[in-house]
Symmetry: C2
DNA sequence: ATCTTTATGGACCTATAATATCCATAATAG
DNA sequence: CTATTATGGATATTATAGGTCCATAAAGAT
């Protein structure tokens, strides 16, 4: 029972499950008391994911300075800095990477060259991407869209979510 | 030569190449004269992609009312509406789908329930997602971020890019 | 010192989405 | 009727997401 192109199971352009795991793990750490280490066992059980897999994600978070880890008995993870200083973007970036969301698929394509034909006679086409003053508008719009999202994610911290949750209390 | 987890080739959260193809194809159609049909051969050659593959994408664009198609000799594609009325979002949505970018990975997880523990004693947990007034803040931030991007993409039309390209002329 | 607990990182595996090709069929102009 | 062009089904290929297993290292407890 495979799904074919016309019935395309379009799932693209989604955050990975790993991002969800990372966010929820961080939030749990933020709720723990200062100085207390939370083990991978506890985290994995909480999120309903295997310890092996989650440990890979936690390890990346450690390498990026979001959390601290300690081995040995009564070891585990804790936040490396205040939850006020950890934005959604920080966490997401660790898992999803740092490339731009839209990459030009073919700079050698005929159309790409046509896009710069206006005054491409004088200089060589590849040079046009260096200077900031002469950028392709397609790419510009796509990058602009990404920036909108990034900016929003940079403005929302883990602490912010905790605070709102505490104060709001789901007013029904 | 495989890449392993620690060297994760993080490419996630990117627009697909298909989106690039779709956008560039639409732009080419917008530049063509009114009433003229552009064949898949021309488009595929222009973008440097196979005719078979591009035709799938064009077919989806047709189903969504972005372009019109005509079979037979001197057939091909043309825009179904003015380029002023086609936003980046319209095109992207066809290829990338319509789901939200962040999907909750596990509503049965212990943490999800903890998040709603505040007043979850009275009613059942699954009901909390129905009402708009009591939404999870993690999900809310993620959806908010998506909305920022979507809104931006909805404000930029294909015609807008063509106009800017014509007027600006890469002022060096 | 030795044992136990816990994180780390390498190698491997599997499922699925993204990308691509081939071909039979339908529709249209001339 | 014929040449041309889009359509859609079936299939193949490749890359990535998602997940497992195990040997090793580090740190606390005995
Ligand atoms: S988006 Fe612009 S710069 Fe990128 S390939 Fe297309 S025409 Fe070239
Ligand atoms: S993001 Fe919120 S609603 Fe979604 S699974 Fe996590 S706690 Fe539940």
């Amino acid at each position: 029972m495979k799904l074919y192109f016309n019935r395309w199971k379009v799932l693209l352009m989604q955050f990975s499950k790993s991002t969800g795991y990372a966010l929820h793990a961080i939030i749990h750490l933020a709720r723990a008391e200062r100085g207390h280490h939370v083990g991978i066992k506890e985290l994995a059980a909480l999120l309903g994911v295997s310890e092996s897999y989650l440990s890979k994600i936690m390890s990346k978070l450690r390498q990026d300075g979001i959390v601290r880890a300690m081995t040995g008995a009564s070891g585990g993870y804790e936040l490396a800095k205040s939850a006020k200083l950890i934005t959604f973007f920080d966490v997401i970036q660790v898992v999803e990477g740092r490339q731009t969301m839209y990459e030009c698929f073919n700079m050698d394509s005929l159309q790409h060259q046509l896009f710069f034909e206006s005054e491409a006679q004088a200089s060589d086409p590849s040079e046009h991407h260096e200077g900031q003053n002469c950028e392709c508008l397609v790419k510009k719009v796509m990058d602009g869209a990404e920036q909108q999202m990034v900016h929003y994610l940079q403005q929302h911290t883990i602490q912010g979510v905790l605070d709102s949750a505490a104060s709001k209390k789901c007013t029904k």
